[in-house]
Each structure stands twice: as structure tokens, then as C-alpha cells.
């Protein structure tokens, strides 16, 4: 008798659930490595902001974005290793607590983007950590369907939400369908959301206009 190994869902499983249930007008920020490459492969869009590197900074950048764009849902995909690197950002998210921010943590227990090295602590209850940081709506998720249900329900919240996704590590680097040029990523994102642009004035005094 062959016993089936119990494996966690893959990042792709969760990403398909995310792509199929993405809220209207959503802006998506993805962490480095496959977090960005795979999302680009499955759901390339100008409303995506792909991180090239800057490990641990996707969450705080998404927090800033959610402050600047309060009427649009902001979804950030961060890794567990990246979260541990800048755990303070979770506290800041809890303090600001923007209701339009959804934090998805890929908990695969390794530093996947750099080849699968062990984390400092792979077994933390990250949802509990998020709750302790002030994000009341935090939950550990083990099935893509549960993520889909959460996204589809779109329950009104008073603050940010953190969903920790138990995930099988994916160490093979996904080839993104397009070159992820950082400046192009930024500029097309800002164009897509109609962000105000800087209009310069000779000898100073320029301001952001439009949007």
C-alpha cells in the first residue's frame, strides 16, 4: 500500500484562486522571486507592482499604497522569510490598519527565492503574530478554496486583513512572460491608476497635478 504524502497546496494553487477572485479595481504588490514571476505569468496586468529584490519591503510599500489609494483594494503577497526580515512592518500595518489592505503571507518555511535555505523559525503561528500586531482579521489558511471564499465574500472590515497561506516551497524559478523592468513597472502602474504626475516649474515650485 502506498500512502499518499500529505502536501500543502502550491503557490500556483493559491495564485489561481487569487486571479479568479480578484476584487474589482484591485492593486497587487508581489514580493521578490516567484511571488512576482508566477503572478506575472498567471495574471500580468499594469495594476501589478512587482518587486525585483528589496526583500521584506513589499508589505510596507503596500501599506503606503493603501494609504494613498484608499478607495481601491490593495493586495500584497509577502513571503514568511521576508516578513521575518521586517517584522516591524506588521506592527505598523496594525497601527495604521487600512481596511483596503489584504496581506497574503506565503508560509512555505524556507527562503524560496534564494534556493530554499531554512528560515530562522519556520513554525511560527503568523496569524497569531498578525493579530498581536493589531490586525484583528488574521487567519491561517490551508486550502486555496478557503482563500477564494475569503476573497469572494468581500466582507466589510474595519481594518486590514492578514491571511497566512500554508504553501509547499517552489524552488524552480518561474520564467515571467515579460521583462520586469522596475522603472517600467512603476510608470505603467502609475499611469494605470491615474496617479498625479509631477509638473515642473522653472526654478522650483513644481507640484503633483492631475489624477
Amino acid at each position: 500500500m502506498v500512502s499518499a504524502a500529505i502536501t500543502r497546496p502550491t503557490r500556483a494553487d493559491y495564485y489561481r484562486a487569487l486571479a479568479d477572485n480578484l476584487p474589482p479595481q484591485a492593486l497587487v504588490v508581489t514580493s521578490l522571486g516567484n511571488a512576482s514571476y508566477l503572478w506575472a505569468k498567471l495574471h500580468e496586468a499594469p495594476e501589478n507592482f512587482y518587486f525585483e529584490d528589496a526583500m521584506g519591503l513589499a508589505l510596507p510599500l503596500a501599506l503606503g499604497l493603501s494609504i494613498a489609494q484608499p478607495s481601491r483594494p490593495v493586495i500584497v503577497v509577502e513571503g514568511d522569510g521576508a516578513l521575518l526580515m521586517h517584522m516591524g512592518a506588521l506592527v505598523t500595518v496594525g497601527a495604521v490598519n487600512p481596511a483596503n489592505l489584504t496581506v497574503l503571507i506565503i508560509q512555505n518555511g524556507v527562503h524560496a527565492a534564494s534556493g530554499g535555505q531554512a528560515l530562522t523559525n519556520a513554525g511560527l503561528d503568523l496569524a497569531q503574530l498578525a493579530r498581536a500586531s493589531g490586525i484583528a482579521s488574521s487567519e491561517n489558511i490551508e486550502k486555496p478554496q478557503a482563500l477564494a471564499d475569503k476573497l469572494r465574500a468581500g466582507t466589510a472590515r474595519n481594518g486590514a486583513e492578514c491571511l497566512v497561506l500554508a504553501t509547499e516551497p517552489d524552488l524552480d524559478v518561474v520564467r515571467p512572460p515579460v521583462a520586469l523592468n522596475p522603472v517600467v513597472t512603476k510608470q505603467r502602474f502609475q499611469t494605470a491608476i491615474g496617479a498625479p504626475r509631477y509638473v515642473h516649474a522653472l526654478f522650483g515650485g513644481g507640484k503633483l497635478e492631475g489624477g
Binding site: 519591503l57 503606503g64 516591524g88 502602474f189 496617479a195 489624477g211
Partner: protein, 175 residues
Amino acid sequence: MSGVLATQADAHRPSDVLNTLKRLGFGAVVSVPDGWLGKILVRIEHEPTMRLVRATHEEEALAIACGIRLGGIRTALLVQNAGVLSMGAGMVSLAQRYQFPLLMLVSYRGTPDDPVFYHVPKGRATEPVLRGIGLNYTVVDRHRPIGPQVEHAATYAEEASCPFALLLSREDIQW
């Protein structure tokens, strides 16, 4: 002292900094405080047209500022020079790599004017590190009005699409 210099010396420079930020349409400030920055942050917190975000670490503050600017709000970063030393990776791989225009108002601790001795190592390292990571900066000229210097730094950041740091002395920023 000439009349002009006397007037400049009498001006309340932190007020000029805040008024310049308001006039230029800065809608957000992200900060990790120090002893010099504490009171101006409270002022900013009470400004109806500005949003203050208090971060736990300067590299995190940098990323929050990038996110707010990405979303279309002009944003300044108020941090101590210790924070500029500790945000190096995020500076080069996020703010500079993606060309985010950010005004950085930095309390320049550890200069000979700073009476707190333990800041000296940071003061000594600050400018060499900024040059090393290619972060554009200038040290405020305390004999000239502060408002135009803030404006020029902000303009530089936008025109060059990069962060720009203005290194401030105590009288520039401590309310």
C-alpha cells in the same frame, strides 16, 4: 551682523520647513523620530492636509514612503542619519532602482555641534556612506533661509527621479 543675516537668524527655521512642505503640496510624511524630530512630527500630525505615518525602522519607512508616492501623494521622509545608514539595501534596490522621488529630511547627528557624544560615529560615517550608495544630498547652509533649501531639495528629487537627502542641524528642525 547685517540686517538680512539678523532676520534670517531670527526666523524659526522648523516653522519654515513645515510651511514649505505644505506649500509644495506634501501630503504625507513617514518617520522614525529622534530627539530633534519629535516635536515637528507632532505638528505634522495635526496638519489637516498632511498624513504622518510612524514606522518602526527607517528602511521600512522608506518603503512606506515609496508606496505612498507610488499612489500619487508627494511624500517626505523624516529620519535621523542613523536611519540612513541602516536603510542602505532598500535605498539602492527599491527607492533608487525604481526611481522614486523622495525628499529626505535628515537630522545630522554627530557633528561637532551636536553635544551628544555617542552620535559621533554616525556623524563621521554619514557623508562617506551617502556618497558610497550614490544618494544625492546636501548639508543645509545655516546662514541662508531654510525654506528655499527644502524646496530645492524637493525639486531635485522630482526632476532627477530619485531620493534626495537634506542634512539638517538642530536649529533647522528641532521645534
